[in-house]
C-alpha cells in the first residue's frame, strides 16, 4: 500500500473527499496569496495609487508614493516567507509529535529562541543577523528537546495536555529569564522589547537575503520528510514495520521544524499561533497526506501572516499593530475551538 492509501485508511473524517478538490484549492489558494500580496503593497499609512505600485515594482522610486511602495516590497516578502516557514514548521511539529496542539509558540520554542538571542545580544555583544539566526536556532532546538522530554514522561507519552503544560510553563520561565537578562541593560531594552512583540515592520532586502538560506534548507528538509511523516502518522510500531527508521525520521523532521521557526524568530521575533492554525485549516482543505499538507501549509501560512500584517496596518491607522498581536487574537480562539473538539481522554 502506498502511504496515500494508508493515510486515507486511518483518517476516516477526511476520506471520501473527491480527488478533484485539491486541484481546485491549489489555484484558489495561490490566487488568494497573490491578491494579499497586492493588497499588502497597496495598503498602509500612506495612500498610494495603482500606478505607484506598478512603477515601484518596476524599480522606480521617484515619487513619495512609489518610495512607500518600495518600502513595502521587502516587508511583504518577509511576511510571506515567515508565514510560510511558521505554517510549515507547525505542520511538521504536529506530524512529528502526532499532536493537534503542537505549535512553536504554544510549545515555548519561540520563547526559547528569544531567550537565546537576548542572551547573545546582552552578554556576548552579538550584532550580525547571521549570529542572531544561529543563536535562535540553537535556542529553539534546545527548548524543543527540553519541552518534549519533560512532556513525554510517564503514562501515555506526550499527550497534548502534558506537552502544552510543559510548553506553557517553559514559556513563563523563559520570559522571566529574558526580563532578568534585559533589565540591567537599559541600552538594549528598547530594541529587544519591540522585537519581542513580533512583527515584520523593519524588513529589508539584506535581512531577507540573510535568512533565505536557512528557510530554504528547512523547506527542502521538511518537504523531503513528507513521506516519512505519513508513515509516522500510523504509529511508531507500524512505521518501523514499514521499514521506516523512526528515530532518524523524527530527528530530521524536528530539525527542519526547528530550523524554520528558529530562523523566523530571529528575524521577526516570536510570532505565535500561525503554526497551530494553518495545518488544521489545510487538513480540512486537502486531507492528511503530508505530501500535500506540507506545501499547502506553507502557502496558507504565508497568506495568513500577510493578512495579519495587513489587518494590523488597517486596524490601528495611522499607526500599526504588530502582526504577532493580530495572530494571537486570531489564533487563540482557534486553539480553544480545537481543544473543545477533542474528546477528554484524547487530551
Amino acid at each position: 500500500m502506498t502511504p496515500a492509501k494508508l493515510t486515507s485508511f486511518i483518517a476516516p473524517p477526511y476520506c471520501g473527499r473527491p480527488g478533484g478538490s485539491r486541484s481546485i484549492w491549489l489555484p484558489l489558494t495561490i490566487f488568494a496569496v497573490v491578491v494579499l500580496c497586492t493588497l499588502s503593497l497597496l495598503i498602509g499609512s500612506r495612500d498610494v495609487t495603482w500606478s505607484d505600485v506598478l512603477s515601484a515594482i518596476g524599480g522606480h522610486v521617484d515619487s513619495i508614493g512609489e518610495a512607500a511602495v518600495a518600502m513595502r516590497i521587502p516587508r511583504t516578502l518577509l511576511a510571506l516567507f515567515a508565514g510560510a516557514a511558521l505554517g510549515l514548521s507547525g505542520a511538521v511539529m504536529q506530524g512529528v509529535t502526532r499532536n493537534p496542539l503542537a505549535d512553536p509558540g504554544i510549545l515555548g520554542v519561540n520563547t526559547g529562541a528569544a531567550l537565546a538571542v537576548v542572551i547573545g545580544v546582552a552578554w556576548f555583544g552579538m550584532t550580525s543577523a547571521q549570529a542572531y539566526i544561529w543563536t535562535a536556532i540553537l535556542g529553539a532546538g534546545c527548548t524543543a528537546a527540553l519541552v518534549y522530554t519533560v512532556g513525554s514522561f510517564g503514562r501515555g507519552g506526550a499527550t497534548p495536555l502534558k506537552l502544552t503544560l510543559a510548553g506553557a510553563a517553559t514559556s513563563i520561565a523563559f520570559a522571566s529569564l529574558v526580563i532578568a537578562v534585559v533589565l540591567p541593560r537599559g541600552d538594549i531594552a528598547g530594541g529587544i522589547r519591540s522585537w519581542q512583540v513580533g512583527g515584520v515592520g523593519g524588513a529589508t532586502f539584506e535581512r531577507l537575503a540573510e535568512v533565505a538560506p536557512f528557510l530554504s534548507a528547512g523547506l527542502i528538509l521538511s518537504l523531503g520528510s513528507a513521506r516519512k511523516l505519513n508513515s509516522l502518522a500510523l504509529g511508531d510500531d507500524l512505521a518501523a514495520g514499514l521499514g521506516e527508521r523512526v528515530a532518524l525520521a523524527r530527528g530530521i523532521a524536528s530539525f527542519a521544524a526547528v530550523l524554520l521557526c528558529g530562523a523566523t524568530t530571529a528575524i521577526c521575533g516570536p510570532i505565535g499561533f500561525v503554526g497551530l492554525v494553518v495545518p488544521h485549516v489545510c487538513r480540512l482543505l486537502v486531507g492528511v497526506d503530508h505530501r500535500w499538507l506540507l506545501p499547502f501549509s506553507s502557502l496558507v501560512g504565508g497568506g495568513l501572516l500577510l493578512a495579519g500584517d495587513i489587518i494590523g496596518r488597517i486596524a490601528a491607522r495611522p499607526s500599526e499593530l504588530e502582526v504577532g498581536i493580530v495572530t494571537a487574537f486570531v489564533g487563540a480562539p482557534f486553539f480553544i475551538w480545537i481543544v473543545r473538539r477533542q474528546r477528554v481522554r484524547d487530551l
Binding site: 495536555l161 522571566s176 486553539f335
Partner: protein
Amino acid sequence: MTSFSSALCSIADDRRSRAHRRNIVITGLLALTIALFALTLILGQSYVPPGDVFRVLIGEDVPGASFAVGELRLPRAVLSVLAGLSFGLGGVSFQTMLRNPLASPDIIGISSGASAAAVFAIVVLSLSGLLVSIFAVAAGLGVAIFVYGLSFRNGVAGTRLTLIGIGVSAMLESMIAYVLARAPAWNLQEAMRWLVGSVNGAEIGQALPLLAGLTIFGGLLLSRARDLEALRLGDDMAAALGVDVARIRIIVVVTAVGLIALATALTGPIAFVAFLSGPIAARLVGNQGSLLIPSALVGAILVLAGDYCGQFLLPSRYPVGVVTGALGAPYLLYLVARTNRTGGSA
C-alpha cells in the same frame, strides 16, 4: 478484636504524629515569615537597629529611620506579605479544586486577565487606586467564568479547562504587550510590574483593600477548608460525603479569583508564587489536613525573600517577579516531570 483495636490505635498514632508535623511546619513557616519581615525592615541599603525599627513601628519619630523604615521599607514589606498570602491561598485553592498542581491561576489565565485589566485601566482609562482593583477583580472573574464556560461540555474536565486557560492566557498576554507598547510615557519599571510583578513604589494606603479582601475572601475559604479537602477525593466521593460540590466550586472560584485579582492589581502577576506555594507546602506538611494556611505562608515567604534577593543580593536590582520566575523555573520543570509520571491530569 485485639488486632482491630491495635490497628485503630496505630492509625490514631499515625494521625497524631502527622498532625504534630503539620503544627510544627506551620509554626516554622510563621516564624520564618516574621523573621524575613523583620529582616527587610532592619537591613536594607542601611542598617537600622531593631530598637529604632520598633520605635518607628509604634509611631515615634526617629530621625534618620522614620523615612527609610516607615515610608519605604514598611509599606513594601506589608504589601509583599499580603500579596504573598493572597497568591498562596488563591493558587492552592485552584490546585486543590481542580486536582491538578498545574492548574494554578497564573497558568490558566486568571492572573493575566487581572493584569491586562489593570494595565488597561491605568494606561488607557487613566484610573488609579481602588477603581483599578475593582477593574482587575471584575476582569479576573470574567476570565474565570469565560474559561469555565468554554470548557463546559458534558461537565467540566480539568484537562480541557487547563488547555483553554492557556489559550486565553496567550491572548491576554499579547493584549498586555500591545497596551504597554502604546503607553504614552514608556516606563520600564512600571511595565515590569505588569509583565512579571513587582512591589516597587509600594504605599501603605494600597495595603488596605488587599487586607480587606484577604480578611473576607481568605476567611470564607478557610471556613470551607474541610469541603475543599473533600473535593480532592473526586466530585462523586465528595458528594457522597455530603459536600454540595457545585456550591463549593462557585465559592472557591469567586474567593480565589478575588484574592488573586486584588493582589495582581497592586503588584502585577508575581511569577510562579501562586503556582509554587501549594506544592511546596504539600511537600513540607505531608498528607495531612488542609494546605490553605501553610500555602499562604509559603507564598508570603516567597515574595518577601524574592524581593529581598532582587533588591540587595544580586548585582543589579530586579523586581521580585524576575527572581521568583527564575528561581521557580527549575523547580517547576521538576514538578511538571514528576506530575506527569503519575499521569498528570485529573
